[in-house]
Symmetry: D2
Subunit: 363 residues, 4 copies
Amino acid sequence: MEKIKVSIIGATGYSGKELIRILLKHPRIKLMHLVSASYVGQNICEVYPEFTNQLDKKLIELDIEKIVRDSDVVFTALPHNISLDIVPELLINKNQMKVIDLSADFRLKDSDNYTKWYKKEHSEKSRVFLKEAVYGLPELYKEDIKKATLVANPGCYPTSAILGMAPLLARRLVEADNIIIDAKSGTSGAGRKLSLGLHFSECNESFKAYKTTMHNHIPEIEQELSLLYNPDSGKDEGEKNKYGKKNKEIIVSFTPHLLPLSRGILSTCYLNLIEDCNEQDIVTLYQNFYQDAPFVRIFEPPNLPEIRFAQLTNYCDIGFTIDKRVGKIKVISVIDNLTKGASGQAVQNMNIMFNLPETMGLL
Amino acid sequence: MEKIKVSIIGATGYSGKELIRILLKHPRIKLMHLVSASYVGQNICEVYPEFTNQLDKKLIELDIEKIVRDSDVVFTALPHNISLDIVPELLINKNQMKVIDLSADFRLKDSDNYTKWYKKEHSEKSRVFLKEAVYGLPELYKEDIKKATLVANPGCYPTSAILGMAPLLARRLVEADNIIIDAKSGTSGAGRKLSLGLHFSECNESFKAYKTTMHNHIPEIEQELSLLYNPDSGKDEGEKNKYGKKNKEIIVSFTPHLLPLSRGILSTCYLNLIEDCNEQDIVTLYQNFYQDAPFVRIFEPPNLPEIRFAQLTNYCDIGFTIDKRVGKIKVISVIDNLTKGASGQAVQNMNIMFNLPETMGLL
Amino acid sequence: MEKIKVSIIGATGYSGKELIRILLKHPRIKLMHLVSASYVGQNICEVYPEFTNQLDKKLIELDIEKIVRDSDVVFTALPHNISLDIVPELLINKNQMKVIDLSADFRLKDSDNYTKWYKKEHSEKSRVFLKEAVYGLPELYKEDIKKATLVANPGCYPTSAILGMAPLLARRLVEADNIIIDAKSGTSGAGRKLSLGLHFSECNESFKAYKTTMHNHIPEIEQELSLLYNPDSGKDEGEKNKYGKKNKEIIVSFTPHLLPLSRGILSTCYLNLIEDCNEQDIVTLYQNFYQDAPFVRIFEPPNLPEIRFAQLTNYCDIGFTIDKRVGKIKVISVIDNLTKGASGQAVQNMNIMFNLPETMGLL
Amino acid sequence: MEKIKVSIIGATGYSGKELIRILLKHPRIKLMHLVSASYVGQNICEVYPEFTNQLDKKLIELDIEKIVRDSDVVFTALPHNISLDIVPELLINKNQMKVIDLSADFRLKDSDNYTKWYKKEHSEKSRVFLKEAVYGLPELYKEDIKKATLVANPGCYPTSAILGMAPLLARRLVEADNIIIDAKSGTSGAGRKLSLGLHFSECNESFKAYKTTMHNHIPEIEQELSLLYNPDSGKDEGEKNKYGKKNKEIIVSFTPHLLPLSRGILSTCYLNLIEDCNEQDIVTLYQNFYQDAPFVRIFEPPNLPEIRFAQLTNYCDIGFTIDKRVGKIKVISVIDNLTKGASGQAVQNMNIMFNLPETMGLL
């Protein structure tokens, strides 16, 4: 069977490395080009000796023409504000090639919102592709992903938060207000760029909150939770929807924290239950909602997920507790930030786009 | 000047060890007896080699008479449900000796509440001492502690949560509802008793929530926050207080998590602001509230405390963020769970009880 | 193609768990029975939630007859002194079934040596199987393993030490004396059994040497290094061998240390060079020696292996430095103690015994 | 009593920070100037928030005149090659001020040796001070330190290695050859300067050897061990000394490794015993040798030091094992690299130089 030709732009960052790690075990792909701005000319094994004996390939500089010619799909694992300019170049010729972009640049449907949070404007070119980009959360948009040319792969925090709360919001079992997401991430989420806060002696044996109001994963979470809460999203806010209730934009309180470990996110989400549910109701709700989602695992009370269970896997592990004393449900949602939170999910999207089994190379 | 004679019952648990560590540097005390159920007859340096050259003392079994005879103050660093029976024995003869109890047994003023959360009844004897016990949070009860014979030293989570939110509740700047405490603790908080969850390979590089509804630090937090919120606590709930508002019991949503590090607690507290405050208002509020509290450090925005800043100190570091988008204030409160969260606070209480400078031996 | 039926005795220890983790991705096996003394009747996912959605199987108690009937190969992942009695029961009927024993019980060819280090005598029964057991280090004994019924899978420290030094001893480039192995292992090497030394708060942020003279991996290392050094091992010590030199038993100084991390061993081996070699000579020697060893990776100076490169892989990564000032060569040999140091190597042995590609399921 | 006026040049590196941490608790000093190249004008609490409420002082740029005028002693905590030029400026006016230099620049008595290992030449000026510099290891040179104007504070690895082996070499109980030092250090030893190797995700859960032949702490170790071994060091190598043996320069094999923890060094030293000693002989030897050394703690077999016992203390903990099978003694020597390995030892030296109790501020 013919193999899918894959290239990676941004191959030496942690998401790029994780893509390589996963793709090396994928039976239906062929790695073509690895692009790196920082290590052009070096072998990938010089940058990541763990790939020794497994991959022998030189890092090249960005050459759009070559990449388009040789690839069926390109993963762009670049910082935000950069993909914006490169993705249109890759797709402009409409030659059947597909792009899975791991940055934030094509995730927000409202380009003004993007500008507000990411301090850069979409160009005319990129705006075209923004319109056809599909938000790459397979548990919500599998059908759209199948047909997509450009997938905007979700952020790590949003993946854990949205999957953790989606069933509750889609069924309106919770208030739209007072949603709190207290998220904790390992250090690899901050990437490979050196900074004092990630210097071993500065974060080892410590823990802190950071970007406590303006983390740029917020708009992505709110966009998707609002879409779930308001199934008739075409209507104006204020009109009644199929629940006979008004549409309501979801605004969340989101606080990220830095864990002294390498990989994993655990989000603790607090929501006000509006109905008197018991644990079994919630378990059933989640199981039904995710019945076609091979990478979501529901933990039944009193079991709860822990970061180590999901580490180095593409699972999103979800558990919950009903806190009757305060009328709240606490949802615990765990992923590996580099796998389900980035590169594993990207490969899951690739599988769907190319009509392969969704879990191929990921179990 | 004469030294204060100090004994420790429960000297080989982590709180006992931390008491020793601190007291070794205290210029006005003399260590008398170290009681340990597990290591009777061994030298403390056999159990904790770090004390070699600093302390040469055998661990003895519990002998109430001897301890009472030789001590001005006794620290009881025992599991809860045990202090209940031992503290009355120590105090029964009213011989001027004082007790600082690090367990939960004398923290809850309502003995039924104690029974509900700790599954044991106060005896007639212990009930007598419960009535005169003072909750040992010096930032709130310094005057009472001065005169106390029995101090109930606060729990680690409650210390961080109560100090973090006290000014907001005392001034009623926040709603009484929707208070969320998302707390994260290092492993030493769980003590020295072996368990699979604390086996290195099982918690290293991981993170989890635990006891998500019924952690027994909850009633202590709620008791103290309610007292702060309702300054006329003698009145029945429902009557109007000095604010012209009804008294209202505070109920919180509390979720503890286990961090892969040894020492430290960071609590992220979420509260709904009822007034439109700016950051400077809050800073001033906290600075005034804690003007006589040498161990509270207020971090002004955008600075926030991190666990490492407070490690091995008796400080409680407090910072906050106003999240205007959702009308909430997020308070970050950090302590070392063994120091300010247990033994350092106990020594602070001792200093106050014996009319020594509050910070002696603790800076 | 028919699948190989595999059972595991001792499935819930860390080696057992690692066997499951690896075998779940092995395309040619079928997991039959999982035996556990501690968790009979529970599902493996209750013990290890990370296997949720991947394996649904109850743990059973030891039933030799059932296991023999249903298995082509059995992995015994038991503490030493236990395999001794169980392995003969499994093999006694000579029904073609094979056993790969992960304990030390069949590694030492000299049963007196076993008794000396492991404080137990081989029974008459086990002595029979000891004679036909093959030491399961594929890089040295691949041909014997192919034909073996019983493979004694090497210990973790010995795997790293022997592979690290084998070429030097086999070619007699180094003195037989003054061989020092300074080894450092992660905590999983000590297993899942609770002990104070593995309690998180006791080993986190710390490091220590342990069992500094009598670690029972020593005789295994010395047996194999002696066999390498003395290619005519049938001859008495004292007679001249094919090098025209006398046979000489290798005795090593071995010191294990405990690293505050979960997985991985790094052994630093010091040997006195007897010839004036340059780095390229040594690289060539190692590359030739391991030319048929797909899991050995040679790092050329100045590159050196690090634990993270080999983590969760079946590789043994070897690097070295020639220290001309003192006439020594320092060899750094790294493995994952649970993979190449235990279960990965066991699967590698299984592949060889069943005539499958050596790397199947292991890359 | 008048306080000693202290300034620190290089106050914001880890050694500078550790000096501040220690000096804050020292009853007889007054902190005058904190010099920092990187943070001029900022308050030390902006750089290290842990000092909040404890120290309120602005960082200034280097002003030799001001520092000399206001200080009784200056700690220079600078990178090597820098102290070389600054120390002479500080001392040139012979105004009674003393300098304790934490760099390597004045440790090696032979300036050619310095140039060989540190790639820089001593100037004529610095050569003058090199001659009168005292190597600041109080356990060996207390009398000289008392009278010194310039103390060259030892390196962290050398402190652990020299103290660990000094009694054996001074009494010639071991061979001069085949001395191996396998040393393991926490990350703070590498300082605060950002580098990929110290990025949390790159060294967490890992372990590696580095600078395996040319670490520049080697000449310092060899200088001091040679002086211990050859008590008549004035004589030429080759002449017989008081033992009736020839002088012999000590050359060691030294291999540093990086531990995934913040603070601490454990050195495992291997030496060939030339006499048949028993454990008690060695214990007695060490106890006698260090009878006036308040910061050396001897662990009697089978007890061994661990990094955590010495963390945040000025102790050097030493234990050993006699490995009779190979005729070697293994010495385990542990320090906190920032305390006894740098700033604690510097304060110990200050105490000695100013005729204060050696342990003041350090227990």
